[in-house]
Symmetry: C2
DNA sequence: AGGAATACTCTACACCGTAGAAGTGTCAAG
DNA sequence: CTTGACACTTCTACGGTGTAGAGTATTCCT
């Protein structure tokens, strides 16, 4: 009945493979990742990998889980606003740390322990903000999607300050039709993603706080 | 010097290939898409595809462009709030229409005409909301990232109402540690993504409208 | 010790993107 | 009309991929 030994051995190997897989994926990105490369890096036959993970898809799922498993969700505080910001910052810094892995969270929407902890904090915050249950659920999920989306966009390079080529492209736009875009070129050159993120978080939170049909807190 | 004829012929073929590529990708998803399948569907040699698109990567980029090229961005109105919502709805419905294609917008952050039109409206709205230029740039981009992120999350199934299996998983969570999550299970079962989206848009917009250092509108 | 389970490897197959050479048809210049 | 240039298409081939299936080695339980 006590089958610890084989499992110990097996689990160690499986974990070692997963660690190596994560490292390889984080370094090379999805296009540079293959089971054969991974097997080569671990010094093992490719089919050994598939013995532990039934398919590449399952391995990628495990990689996605592995990333989120390492995050520390800060405990809830007395301010729901701060709690929301803390959750948001946690996921954003996760995306910063592993920019090439982060998109897997969308493909395999992980519902591991860390995700449950995070969404509990979000839901709790929404209710503490005085929202009725249906609103809390919807806005909580939307908040989650927003945060993940922002983090992904950032990881994929969508929010980088514009370079000279970008500037030239914007400068070539019609001066009348694109007045605002052209006027903001200097601001876009000096864009601070941290500031943009915290400002937009503040905006969203302020919007939640002033939600029409909320109860008094 | 006048080499119009051959180009006309060529463009038609190239466009036909791109159309077929888009259809195949939209139907099968990225994992079911290959140059060889596409070539088979068009009735042409695989290398012909690569003659028109230098590589698969370039073809995918063209597919991403193709999707966004078809969207109609509504013209700016007198209400910047409505303009923001209109842009948001445009991209969200794009994701609804082509859920398996939408993630390409993150990989190849398209800056085609449609994107310029959309971001002009967003920037213009932010300035009309009274934000200073640096804030307008940051919040405009953040708004964009939020909207794309929400749409992607939805396309990937992150915002579907929970099913019985999900419910059982949530129900199995610790009753004390996950009070809010468990309390919201009924709301999550009846979740309305449209409502969640519009409510969160309202929240964000209300937050922008009440931004501290904005000028009087 | 014997048997069963587990871990691992080898071989093989179908599929992939694409480099390079070899047609093929069309057109402008001689 | 011939010739050359050129865009277009195809053929062949190479190295890479995920993984099914059979075989081997190791380990554990009785």
């Amino acid at each position: 009945m006590t089958d610890l030994r084989p499992k110990v051995r097996r689990r160690l190997d499986k974990q070692a493979i997963l660690d190596a897989a994560f490292d390889l994926f984080a370094e090379e990105g999805e296009s540079g990742f293959s089971i054969r490369k991974l097997a080569g890096a671990v010094g093992v036959d490719p089919m050994t990998v598939l013995h532990h993970f039934r398919s590449k898809d399952e391995l990628l799922r495990a990689i996605a889980d592995h990333a989120v498993r390492g995050v520390e969700i800060p405990r809830a505080t007395e301010s729901w606003q701060n709690d929301l910001k803390a959750v948001a910052n946690t996921f954003r810094s996760l995306a910063h740390r592993y920019p090439r892995v982060f998109h897997l969270h969308f493909r395999y929407h992980a519902t591991g322990p860390a995700d449950h902890v995070a969404s509990e904090i979000v839901y709790c915050a929404m209710r503490r903000a005085g929202l009725p249950d249906d609103r809390a659920a919807g806005l909580g999920l939307a908040f989650y999607a927003f945060v993940l989306g922002f983090a992904l966009a950032e990881a994929e390079g969508l929010l980088r300050p514009i370079n000279d080529a970008d500037e030239a492209e914007l400068d070539a736009l019609d001066a009348d039709a694109y007045k605002a875009t052209r006027a903001l070129i200097p601001a876009l050159k000096g864009l601070d993603p941290d500031l943009a993120f915290s400002a937009s978080m503040d905006a969203f939170i302020a919007g939640v706080a002033s939600f029409p049909d909320r109860a008094p807190s």
